[in-house]
């Protein structure tokens, strides 16, 4: 495992316009993101010999990565579409690193996009996403995706006294960050009261506790640390990575208030030789406000049960002890489904290049990024840094 530490770096990163982008299909967004990342890395498409995508819901293909490679006329020696839901971004970054470290390929394009807002009706988007539930033992009862996560939030509230106000503070913080981000889909500042007064979707989650429904694409270029010096931007090195997988269906969860982020985090910290207090910022998966709270705890940024008070203290805002979701997150920047965490990755690259403008975390050296798929099911934690060692 340790050989992945410092073995690869991100040398290109770019997003398409996000939010409501009706003039581009999901496939076009995926290709557009790829071309922007290639341009950021200053390379031509022929220099990519690995490609990883995730399937689109609005425009699915049986062989998604092959379709994108074919569209671009790239002829890679490593080509795969992966599906671990919202966690796909960091899972495939793990796989890309392994592929490069073992010589399967040299330079990987990871590109993902979807068109959930313009390419699907609201009911289609809800039904496709809720199909993460068990077809016989969950879905007949009518759970929505917010309902699945509401079950986790309610259990945490019952066990630890977490409040709706503390959850709302996650949404408020993300919006403050999006307010500073010209590319974000939702930029108007909100208050805790605004969140609590927004329509209840699935108790205790209000509309503003739920992430956006968006169009958008994002891509990165990953290569070996040795090659990484030949690119125009300073490399962002992978220092640690770990996965943890606890269940798929929420009714099978080992624990409703803690997740396999505990394992993924420990594995990533161990590889990096770093601890939570070494992180200058974190991007945590915020499909709904309670996931940020549970991840703060499970990744060791506070004690179990202390996520609510930590959030309410302002610690996760810019200028706080651990700025979280500096681009605005899925709650306010954009959430085109499974590609969602890609934007957290490209934002982290911008932060570690010290190119994040008004929302730059001062002198950021090391960042933790984490995402999960399913219903807090499939977790990957990655630690990135400006320095290889």
């Amino acid at each position: 495992m340790a050989q992945l530490r410092g073995a690869v770096a991100i040398v290109g990163a770019a997003d398409t316009p996000v939010g409501v982008v009706p003039h581009l299909s999901a496939t076009q967004l995926c290709v557009d993101a790829a071309r922007r990342a290639l341009a950021d890395a200053g390379i031509r498409k022929g220099q990519v010999d690995g490609i990883i995508t995730c399937n689109s819901m609005a425009e699915p293909y049986m062989y998604h990565a092959e379709v994108i490679a074919e569209y671009l006329q790239i002829f890679p020696r490593y080509c795969i579409a992966a599906a671990t839901g919202g966690g796909t971004t960091f899972t495939v970054l793990h796989h890309a690193a392994a592929a490069i470290a073992t010589g399967m390929c040299n330079t990987v394009l990871i590109t993902m996009a979807d068109s959930l807002r313009s390419g699907l009706t609201r009911e289609q988007a809800m039904l496709i996403q809720s199909s993460t539930g068990h077809s016989q033992f969950e879905l007949p009862y009518g759970p929505t995706v917010p309902a699945f996560y509401a079950l986790l939030a309610r259990a945490h509230m019952a066990k630890y006294g977490t409040t709706e106000e503390q959850l709302a503070a996650v949404a408020v913080t993300c919006r403050q960050h999006a307010h500073l981000n010209p590319t974000a889909q939702m930029r108007d500042l909100i208050t805790v009261e605004d969140v609590l007064n927004s329509r209840m979707i699935a108790d205790p989650l209000h509309l503003l506790d739920c992430s956006l429904v968006s169009d958008g694409g994002s891509a990165v270029i990953v290569t070996s640390a040795e090659r990484a010096h030949d690119f125009p931007h300073a490399p962002v090195y992978l220092l640690g990575v770990g996965e943890g997988h606890g269940h798929e269906h929420v009714s099978q969860a080992r624990n409703l208030t803690a997740s396999a982020a505990v394992e993924s985090g420990q594995r990533a910290y161990e590889m990096a030789g770093l601890s939570p207090r070494d992180m200058d910022l974190a991007q945590l998966y915020d499909c709904f406000t309670p996931t940020v709270l549970i991840e703060l705890e499970d990744l060791g940024f506070c004690a179990k049960g202390e996520g609510g008070p930590m959030i309410a203290s302002g610690a996760i805002g810019l200028g706080g002890a651990l700025p979280v979701n500096t681009h605005g997150g899925l709650l306010s920047h954009c959430h085109p489904g499974n590609p969602g965490a890609m934007f957290a990755l490209t934002e982290t690259v911008a932060q570690l290049r010290h190119a994040a403008g008004q929302r730059q975390v001062k002198d950021a050296q090391t960042a933790l990024v984490h995402a999960q798929g399913g219903i807090m099911s499939s977790h990957t934690t990655i630690i990135l840094g400006r320095e290889r060692n």
């Binding site: 077809s135 016989q136 033992f137 009862y141 759970p143 079950l151 329509r199 209840m200 009714s251």
Partner: protein
């Protein structure tokens, strides 16, 4: 009778058919390992505790405790609109395993984690009967 057409219907497989057949008879079944005695749900071909191949169906008490719940205010599809808001809950059965179901006959505002519940059955079609739960005691 409530119109259940358009809802997401369970489609039994050979592995799950005994469960759904029992629901039609008004019985809630879980699996028990003949070797180690562990209970499990959903049904599987082996015991997840000791890896034994010897699992059998037994009738569950039908009683359990709410480990979490939510009140769905925006239904997953039009077929669920008539009963919205509806309560989706995770119920830990007396035998140990947890299952998802709806709690019926309870004011959403009165729901609490820890409530005791018991099973009842709702017939959706001639083929499909779905287990749901009602509250029997407040949270302890």
């Amino acid at each position: 009778m409530t119109d259940h057409s358009g809802k997401i219907m369970p489609h039994p497989t050979p592995e799950t058919r005994p469960y759904w057949d029992a629901c039609r008879e008004g019985e809630l079944m879980v699996q028990r390992c003949k070797d180690c005695g562990a209970h499990q749900f959903y049904p599987r071909m082996m015991c997840t505790s000791c890896d034994s191949n010897s699992v059998e169906w037994i009738r569950a008490s039908g009683r359990g405790r709410v480990s979490s719940y939510t009140v769905v205010r925006r239904p997953v599809s039009k077929a669920y609109a008539a009963e919205t808001p509806y309560i989706v809950a995770l119920i830990q059965l007396e035998e140990g395993p947890t299952m998802m179901s709806n709690i019926v006959g309870c004011d959403p505002g009165a729901m609490e984690v820890g409530m005791s519940v018991e099973v009842l059955f709702e017939q959706w079609t001639d083929e499909v009967t779905v287990p749901k739960f009602r509250v029997t005691q407040p949270a302890q």
